[in-house]
């Protein structure tokens, strides 16, 4: 039962990534693409944590930590440049 629920969760995360990449391809403006990358980083944190559970290795959580702490820097930099900052 529990394993099946995790499988369904994996399928849902799969479709979330598919939708995010679709928004990146459709785009329209640069900001839309940046929103896609912002969402996809958070989804990848969840994916890495889930994979750490599936493989049973605690070390992978460290990578999720790096993502959670540093992934917003790229979005912040692009936002600051788009509004003609430094």
């Amino acid at each position: 039962m529990a394993d099946m629920l995790l499988q369904i969760a994996g399928v849902l995360i799969f479709f979330a990534i598919v939708f995010g990449v679709a928004r990146l391809v459709i785009g329209r403006t640069a900001i839309d693409r940046v929103v896609a990358i912002d969402m996809l980083t958070v989804v990848s944190i969840a994916l890495i944590a889930l994979y750490a559970h599936l493989s049973g290795r605690f070390v992978y959580i460290d990578v999720a930590l790096v993502y959670g702490l540093l992934s917003f820097l790229a979005v912040l930099a692009i936002a600051r440049f788009l509004e003609k900052g430094p």
Binding site: H53, F72, E83
Partner: protein
Amino acid sequence: MELTGSILVLTGAFFLFSAGLGLLRMPDTFTRIQAGTKASTLGNILVLAGLGFYHPDWALKLLVVAYFVLMTNPLSSHALSRAAHAIRTPMAPSTMVDALREEGDRQGNGDVS
């Protein structure tokens, strides 16, 4: 214990899925920013909480990850929506009120944050 954890993970994955759906289907940039940030933050935290039920000895580090996401994700999306507003990204036709622009007009410089 495991059932609770898996149900939490499933709920979080559903929120992540709805974040992706909102990103694809919302009419303009600002609503997309809202959908992509709020739903994905909640979904991520729920997934981490569910994994904490599976492995109680990982709980501290998962909590730290959730805290970091909670700290950094709103920051980046705030900066992003501010940039989108500053370069006058078109809004959906159903948007009635632009309070930030009205405030800027009242102060006469068009630059409030």
